[in-house]
Symmetry: C2
Subunit: 335 residues, 2 copies
Amino acid sequence: MKVVVDGEEKDMWALWYDDDTDEVVFIDQRKLPHRFEIYRAKDYSAVAFAIKDMVVRGAPAIGAAAAFGMAQAMVQGRKFEEVAKIIAATRPTANDLFFAIDFMRQSMAKGKEPTTAADEFVRGIVDRCRRIGENGAPLIEDGMRILTHCNAGALATVDYGTALAPMRVAHKQGKKIFVFVDETRPRLQGAKLTAWELRMEGIDHALIADNAAGHYMRTGEIDLVITGTDRVTASGDFANKIGTYEKAVVARANDIPFYVAAPISTFDFSIKSGSEIPIEERGPEEVLVVEGNSIAPEGTPVRNPAFDVTPGEYVKAFITEDGVFPPDGLKKMEW
Amino acid sequence: MKVVVDGEEKDMWALWYDDDTDEVVFIDQRKLPHRFEIYRAKDYSAVAFAIKDMVVRGAPAIGAAAAFGMAQAMVQGRKFEEVAKIIAATRPTANDLFFAIDFMRQSMAKGKEPTTAADEFVRGIVDRCRRIGENGAPLIEDGMRILTHCNAGALATVDYGTALAPMRVAHKQGKKIFVFVDETRPRLQGAKLTAWELRMEGIDHALIADNAAGHYMRTGEIDLVITGTDRVTASGDFANKIGTYEKAVVARANDIPFYVAAPISTFDFSIKSGSEIPIEERGPEEVLVVEGNSIAPEGTPVRNPAFDVTPGEYVKAFITEDGVFPPDGLKKMEW
């Protein structure tokens, strides 16, 4: 992703391995969007802290952190399983953590050089996102105005992003695009991260309250919606950040195509439909307290679902690294 | 409305005239929800300040403030037109201001006692809201879970509210109800005001991010939606706080009845459809800054429509002081 630091333009990943110092280096996402800071993890315990404290977030980026962290631990002469246990415990619901650790375990068993193995793992993530961008870019015509929700960007996926990848590629192809960025309450990932990424990339955009998306769909100012997803079922029902379902319903009411960008690893055909996806309800503070200030009467009861499920019927197509598939074409995908 | 102050339960208006001191007295809405404070306006300039600085907000409540302020000015021996000019300039887009001043002007011309005239004006507002409550309450069955958006409550209308009036009446009738309160970004009137009113009233509720409303509609946890409105056209298209349109579209997708509560004075049959309603775009700060803290990169472009228009086809019925009317029954209303 493009990052402008002190007026200088750089091409940067969300995190990387510094071969000179054997440090895992992160864009510190806790400090965004107000400060751009680099967090250098000198050993596996610092990597574990970075994952736990959300220096890095987003499932693929967390996987990359685990791979780099395991490689660093090997270079520094640690015992694989001891470190693996600590890294795996940082975000116990993040499957990408376990997947990355398994990949590194198998690579070590095959006698691969640790940093080479981690590099291969992370380049795989980046390559898939790049291909999502290339497959999705043809859907974006010159002059189109696109709505996105939450942050499915490079910060979450090391580079390119999923939902943002087609926009990045279209922009690089010289298409003039405009992005409406949902602020994405309660955690404001749109305002904090997506707005920052688009600004760095030089892509025209405007931040809106989540409530305003429908208005711009109705008044004809949005041509296309692209979001990411956490999980897609066999029927095309998918889970994503809370609010996605509303945008999909309103998009269809206004005949606006709704696309979901995700790597093949996000598709779980062992689940038949969205009703089987459990929805995590998180604590009340995310809703009650914004940037340290309470916005409601003390003790106000809150309900705070982190995700919602959107039925596959609302999806025009899924944009993957292997192509663009409508929901009823999912069975044609190769696994 | 019920207000609990220092453990003591009171029945209170959002503002009133103190006959002993000739002060106009307000619940200071700038301080809610964290502090309950009373603002006492000793003369017309303090009343003007209260309107301008949003000690009081909501069109009917602003009208009431103007009526009380004009009465106070008369009692204190001021010149009607001089004071009227100052009060009218406080919120130049609020029609209720001009309407209240006109009412007082005509009452003075008829030789009415000023505080009696203001009292009559404000009791008219309260009475209409009470009747909206009585007409709407039968739509709410015991055990129902209701979604509301923004604050169409007693704070905005002196007492009862519009959208909240049927809930207050149903609750007083002993029906067990539960209210999902949209926080209502960007200005958070749901979190700050509606949550406070429901808490005072003892009505079960939960605050949600605006994004979560669709999720609860889809999962069958919302039986009914009731909102207020700023303006209804001849076709039933109506303007209300940004985000209302999304809720209406998602409600219909889930076969959930969507009601709009408003006094007859809100219906403007000189306007044929919603496309004739201009949408005010407000400044970027409301979106960029929450309770004094910036949530996005400095200089992020923002679009901030204050209202949206919902087509009449999404409305099950309008709840008014004169009855409950489906959109195609509006022409049967008496004007």
